[in-house]
Amino acid sequence: MSTTSFAEELRTRSDSELSKLFSLRPDLVTPLPGDMAALAARANSMPSLIRAIESLNKWQLDCVHAICTLEEPFAKNELVSITEKGAALVLEELWAFGLIYQDGAKYRLPSNLRNLIGDEPTGLGPKLPTTKKVNFSLLEKAPAASQEVLNRLVWGPPRGQVGNTKKPGPAIEWLIENNFLVAMDSQTVVLPRDIALHLRGGKVLRDIITSAPVLTGRSRKQIDVDRAAIANVSTFLRWCEELSHNWSDEPPVALRSGGLGVRDLKRTSEHLGIDEVCAGFIAEILFIAGLIVIDTDDQIMPTSAFDIWMTKPLEDRWHALVSLWLETSRVSGLIGKADAKNIAPLGPELDRAGISAIRKSTLALLQNNMQIDPAIDSIQQILKWQSPQRFNSEFIEWTLREAEWLGITGQGAISTFGSALINGAEELGIESALPKPVDHILIQADNSAIAPGPLTIELSNMIGTIADIESRGGATVYRFSEASIRRGLDHGQTGDQIKDFLKKTSKTPVPQPLEYLINDVSKRHGRLRIGTASSYLRCEDEGLLAQILHDKKIESLRLRKLAPQVLICDFDMAEVMTTLRESGYLPAAENGTGILLSAPAVRRAKSRPRPPRILSETSAPTDLVIKSAVRAIRAGEKATSHKPRNVPRTTANETLDILHQYIDEAASCTIGYADTNGGVSNRLIDPVSISLGTLLAKDHATGELQSFRIPRITGVSPAEN
């Protein structure tokens, strides 16, 4: 009887069925396979099967396991009989997934799926030839300890370790004697499949859950949720702004391995008044969005994208960051987690596959259960059922935590804004829910100013330069101090501009002490001037200096008069000295403290000494080196003397076949092996195993296990003794 192949079956599927398949397994069409054979090969490949299995829910996955216990081809009824009625529906779903295919009225599995699931589906042991009869009625009289052992093995794993199968304890001994257990080797016993199935009552699954549990949690009012969420949104945006400003003032320096150091993270978290995990999260989000970057000199600071981002409406700002969060594969929950390795924010180690899918399924679940602040156990159970292969309890916990920080949720339940975001709505309604920006401040007698709401961006930038922030939240409290006013002056404001600005912006009169403070500081500001010069000319004869200053021959020195007796210059001392001498002046050099340098300066290089390497006689080799060398030479001798010069060339497939033979026979062989330069050398080896395109073999030359890339093996020939 001929069997239908997977490719043949795929050919018979209709267009809509194929479309369904592709939508369920998008990886099958990227890149597009050439024909049905190629599609079948792709669908039967391990990576694709793994992806497909990951997207199954628990019930579907259980059915796949159950199917693996059946002989192929199998009928629908066979599956139903070992599980339950609902499996018939699942069978159709699995067929749509391309995880089973039809062979006449029956079904088959793509060949690799069995390998993927393994030899012990649903924890059933191997099928052993039933030579000995098992009398199940004996079980009732079995010792309690033996029954205990059986109970442990019946639902898998079916194997157990014992000290010695020849001399087991009484419980095991009874089971072996009565053929319930079979000794696999000297230390392993196994429960044969038939017996386990019998003990399971003909079913293969212990408990069958055909649908997800219901989400439980505290119920919330949507209006409260939205209020809390909007508070979270504005807090989150403020953190982002604040962190960027802080890093612009004091940029942290990235670690050599990439990422933000623990100390900088701590400082940032203290500055923001949040814990380090949250600070790390904010930094990550900004980093993903390109609002901060690790600069070429390893300083971490905001980019110009940040300035553009700041000019956008709040809703757009939020939307930009949150939609990135939904997609990113970086998991900031890993930051600073208490395990052996401290993972740094912005570092290279934060990517985890599948997190985005977890985020989306978590939020979808919240969206289907509006106004519920879910119990963490409940949400984890549901998601575990939905995709058992992808389940990660920590990731779910982090997703909920981050969603709350972001303001997608409020009081644990999803907000209308978050829901609109997931639905891809254009307008999220955040802008209208956030407090309106205010355009004034209130200045008080204790030199503090209060912005009773979010300030417009121009105002907050301006006040930020002339006052320090003392308290943040819905409102902002600023404090004016000598240092903050000075900063404003450094930014190019004048005292009068600051006063005018405050008079214009403040709803309350500017207190007199503050005006005095501004006057005092601006009066003193800039009285001292600092600049750089490379050298100076000093002379008590002011006439001479005037002459030098007007001398056309030395105009190139671009001298500048700083004081009646001092000129400065941007060129270094030696150059000025030479030029002046050439023009007929008689300058003398002095050092920083005014001491005359009478002797000509002895010049020294500024760089560190780097003497060249010394080539010396080679030192005597160690015993170990000598021993290895001798062995290598002897092995080489053996290889050349025992062997034709050239190993015949074989194709890759032939090579594999031949190597498999040698592995099975456990015999030595010679291979031609191309090195990275293309030169072929012959190696005498004992092949051990082949996996992932690599041959693992013992090389006679070194006496050690070594791996050989299959494509580099030019040919195989027997080792001649």
Binding site: I230, D446, P452, G473, G474, A475, V477, P513, Y516
Partner: protein
């Protein structure tokens, strides 16, 4: 979005818009659980602190009430983290209770075994615990009551003290209200204290804290120990008690450097209590001399550290702390909370002023420009001498004298830190100087003469910072101080805040040398008062000389 008067900030400060319609109502609600940090003209700042929240729990408020209040008055959405934090903090209070056990005396009780386990593991706490009676009860030596409460507070598990107070020896004390009557806020303060058992009353200088003390004594009707800062203050307390209560002279004793009387009501100075002879505190027995029913700590913000330790020993006696500013420059507010007791009453200065019980004050900073010679000397002075140098400069002296002469018809106090500066001023103005070495008798005579108006102007050193009652002083001229001390500035202003017979306002001059550390310190000193709503005005010394 509601339009409430309150803004809850993420750093746990609460901003109250006082111009808002609901601000009064809101202030009353939040005052019970948040600490008033500052109260300038427009926006008052309160802070949610663990101490404040525990105080609220101690007075019977629960977390739900606090959260409701915040949500009700808040202008913007309240950060969720704050609400969680409030509930969490408040739930920590009262998990541990100190109770009186009929057999074992004092016991520490908790129905939460985990908390009890946690605190018994505490390094500081473990040695204070006695026998564990069962899973919920541990015997405590009565002498450890105060120390244990202190240690538990540090661990973040404040114990609620239900062990009660000893009544002390009964002594009949009543207020005698003839020709005067106790003010509403004084009565509230005394009652607040009495119902709380122990605690601190915060009132501005000049608002009559002595009367609150007297009212508390009338509640207790028991022997009372009063601890004050110095002898003059002790005498003032005595005079006041004689005037306001049924006490007679022979019932009140003074325990000071000069006298050692122990009577049913004894007034002792901090100094004598902390005097050591051969390394031993010689006068500690006073705490046990009589079965005191009440102990009053005047100016509790100045309470010296040794007194804290004694106080820990006497936790079964009622304790009342009185102060104008709970600001301690040494940050020991936590000790005051756990050993004296929580804050029981607090009133903003400006509120009392509005009721007319303290005089309105005009605070003026007089900026003096030093002469070029003085500036040069200042610039080259050693850093540690700089303040002294600019604070005592001749130019400042001249301005102070000009100010004193300008107000020669009013009662003037000139207050300073450096004795040679004060002596020079006294000489120039031909007025008496009171400083540390002035005998008590002489001080009292001078103060009395000042009160009657016989002397118009007095120069005083920091001995007069506290507790000196000079009702008619209307002008204070501060020439130097203890660097940037905020509470000193407040206390000195307090000297002139007694309401004047003719309703006149007081004026507080602070003479400051421009562009020197004097100016920096002045800014810091003024901060507390500015936060209380006292707006300083700055004038130039030249204007004074010109008679403006």
């Amino acid at each position: 979005m509601s339009d409430g008067p309150l803004i809850v900030q993420s750093d746990k400060t609460l901003l109250l818009d006082v111009d808002h319609l609901l601000s009064d109502e809101c202030r009353r609600s939040i005052a019970s659980f948040a600490e008033l940090e500052k109260s300038p003209e427009h926006i008052h700042t309160y802070r949610l602190t663990p101490l404040g929240l525990w105080n609220a729990r101690a007075s019977g408020l629960d977390a739900e009430h606090v959260i409701d209040t915040l949500l009700k008055y808040s202008r913007f959405a309240v950060p969720h983290a704050i609400l969680v934090d409030v509930a969490e903090t408040m739930s920590r209070y009262g998990r541990l209770r100190l109770e009186a056990h009929p057999v074992h005396g004092l016991v520490l009780v908790s129905h939460d075994a985990a908390v009890l386990k946690e605190v018994t593991r505490g390094k500081k706490v473990a040695p204070m615990l006695g026998l564990q009676l069962d899973d919920e009860t541990i015997v405590i030596h009565p002498g450890q009551r105060g120390f244990l409460k202190q240690a538990l507070l540090k661990l973040g598990w404040p114990a609620e003290d239900f062990a009660g107070y000893v009544d002390g020896e009964h002594h009949e004390i009543d207020l005698v209200q003839d020709g005067w009557s106790i003010r509403k806020y004084q009565e509230l303060a005394a009652e607040g204290f009495w119902h709380g058992g122990s605690g601190v009353v915060v009132l501005p200088c000049g608002a009559g804290k002595t009367i609150v003390g007297a009212a508390a004594m009338a509640h207790a009707k028991a022997t009372t120990l009063i601890l004050v800062t110095n002898t003059v203050a002790a005498r003032q307390w005595r005079d006041e008690l004689l005037k306001r209560t049924t006490l007679h002279e022979d019932e009140i004793g003074e325990y000071s450097g000069s006298k050692k009387e122990v009577r049913p009501v004894t007034i002792a100075t901090y100094q004598v209590m902390t005097t050591r002879k051969k390394g031993v505190y010689a006068h500690l027995d006073l705490f046990d001399a009589i079965d005191w029913g009440l102990i009053i700590y005047d100016e509790v913000h100045l309470l010296p550290a040794p007194i804290f330790r004694f106080t820990a020993d006497i936790q079964s006696r009622r304790r009342l702390g009185l102060t104008a500013t709970l600001v301690r420059e040494d940050g020991m507010e936590g000790e005051v909370f756990s050993l004296i007791g929580p804050k029981r009453f607090d009133a903003p200065w400006k509120e009392i002023e509005a009721q007319g019980y303290i005089a309105p004050a005009d605070c003026v900073e007089v900026r003096v420009t030093l002469t070029d010679a003085e500036r040069l000397n200042y610039a080259t002075a050693e850093p540690e001498d700089r303040y002294r140098f600019c604070a005592t400069s001749q130019t400042k002296q001249d301005v102070a004298i000009a100010l004193a002469l300008k107000h020669k018809d009013e009662q003037v106090l000139i207050i300073g830190q450096y004795l040679d500066q004060l002596d020079a001023l006294g000489e120039a103005l031909q007025v008496p100087v009171i400083k540390g070495d002035t005998p008590i008798k002489e001080r009292e005579r001078l103060f009395a003469a000042y009160r009657t108006g016989e002397i118009k102007c007095l120069v005083v050193s920091k001995v007069a910072n506290f507790s000196i009652d000079l009702p008619d002083a209307t002008i204070a001229i501060q020439v130097s101080g203890t660097f940037g001390s905020r509470q000193e500035e407040a206390q000195r202003l307090g000297r002139i805040l007694r309401p004047k017979a003719d309703g006149r306002g007081a004026r507080f001059y602070s003479v400051v040398a421009r562009d020197t550390v004097d100016q920096e310190f002045a800014q810091n000193r003024q901060r507390f008062l500015a936060e209380q709503g006292y707006a300083y005005r700055i004038v130039d010394a030249d204007d004074i000389h010109l008679g403006k």
